[in-house]
């Protein structure tokens, strides 16, 4: 054991400018070190969990997260589209924010670009995935880690994107079970992650 556990993990620098307007359900769990920014509203539905270092940026439009979603660490919602000029993302014509359906899971380091991007109900966005601006994921899609969805692309329900973009249909038909599992996971996360909604309100 080392001094490393004596020291406290440094808190990330808060983004400059005013706090983003937020609209939290009372039952959410949001880690202290999550990053919220932007001028549009950020809605988070009941019992959803936001891990530390998750970044929600509503600069380009409102961000809506449904019920019982899990947003893992280092995910970035509402990121400026890769195509947009870094200097001033707002001039990008693709206005609009990000909508995350109920029971969706955004794994570590997933990036969902702003611009009316939709992640459907029950989707699992794998580690390090990137969803292009304006893309629309149908219900219960699975993106395996490091997959990419092109901007504006429409992905039908139950699509599995795997092995560098190959696609197939998810024929398991176990959405109910997945929802149960999700709920159980959230119960645990509630206990593990010290939640601090007030900080953002």
């Amino acid at each position: 054991m080392s001094s490393s556990n004596k020291r406290q993990s440094v808190l990330p620098r808060m983004p400059a400018g005013p706090k983003a307007p937020v609209n939290f359900s009372s039952s959410i769990t949001i880690a202290d070190s999550a990053l919220l920014a932007g001028k549009h509203t950020i809605n988070i539905g009941s019992e959803s969990v936001v891990h530390p270092r998750a970044r929600l940026d509503s600069a380009l439009g409102r961000i809506t997260i449904g019920r019982r979603c899990v947003v893992h660490e280092r995910t970035s919602l509402g990121a400026a589209p890769a195509s947009a000029p870094a200097s001033d993302p707002t001039i990008l014509n693709t206005q609009g924010g990000v909508t995350i359906g109920d029971y969706a899971t955004l794994e570590v380091g997933a990036v969902v670009e702003a611009g009316g991007t939709v992640v459907g109900e029950g989707c699992v966005v794998g580690i390090g995935c990137r969803i292009g601006s304006g893309a629309k994921l149908g219900k219960h899609c699975t993106l395996t880690p490091l997959s990419e969805i092109q901007p504006g692309e429409e992905v039908p329900d139950f699509t599995v994107v795997y092995s560098n973009g190959t696609r197939r249909l998810d024929r398991r038909g176990i959405t109910e079970l997945k929802h149960k599992a999700q709920a159980r996971q959230i119960e645990v996360l509630k206990r593990l992650i010290p939640s601090n909604p007030t900080k953002f309100q």
Binding site: S9, V108, P145, E187
Partner: protein, 197 residues
């Protein structure tokens, strides 16, 4: 954090760990460092995701202590990598289980590790994703950009790559020494030694 800036970017512990000040260790009471381990800036360890359900030690938990992430000696966690314990439904309730790293484990930049165990002398490249409950044995090289699916077992002396990862080669007899990280350990820190030519 600014106040300590003068003392260099790393904190060097008495057991020889070199932990960057910009490293993000959450739930440090659940993190075990074996010593001589380097944790670079932006590297993240989710110690807070500790086991909640009590699991018989058969599943590899050290009795008593509730360690979430155990790291051996001479490990090297590069910038922006992330270690998090794997979680699953166990006996009807969800729980996280510990993540264990052996000695001389190199983890590349931006890599996310959710394995159950990673053996000794393992090199994991950049932008790799190690799925939940994967088991990586000793002397394994994971090439950049691989995605190791959940529950995959990788035997010793394998070279794996691909999405999903598969075994694409064997570590040759002469390649064992390349896994040693002592030199690399010396090459970082507040007064780094250059790597020998």
């Amino acid at each position: 954090m600014s106040r300590k800036q003068v003392k260099g970017e790393y904190i060097e512990t008495d057991t020889g760990n070199k932990v960057a000040r910009k490293a993000i260790l959450i739930g440090t009471q659940h993190i075990m460092l074996g010593g001589k381990t380097v944790i670079q800036a932006e590297a993240m360890i989710r110690g807070d995701l500790a086991r909640t359900a009590q699991v018989p030690s058969s599943s590899g938990a050290a009795p008593g202590s509730n360690t979430a992430v155990a790291i051996g000696r001479y490990c090297f966690l590069s910038k922006g990598c992330c270690l998090r314990p794997p979680g699953r439904i166990y006996k009807g309730s969800f729980t996280y289980l510990p993540l264990r790293l052996g000695d001389h484990v190199f983890i590349g930049e931006g890599t996310v590790v959710q394995a159950a165990t990673v053996g000794s002398h393992v090199h994991i490249g950049q932008k790799v994703v190690v799925g939940e409950f994967a088991i990586i044995k000793d002397y394994v090289r994971v090439l950049d950009g691989s995605v190791i699916p959940a529950n995959m077992v990788i035997p010793s002396f394998s070279i794996v790559a691909g999405q999903p990862a598969r075994i694409v080669g064997e570590v040759p007899e002469g390649g064992h020494e390349a896994f040693e990280l002592r030199e690399l350990y010396k090459s970082v820190g507040n007064n780094p030694q250059p790597l020998p030519v």
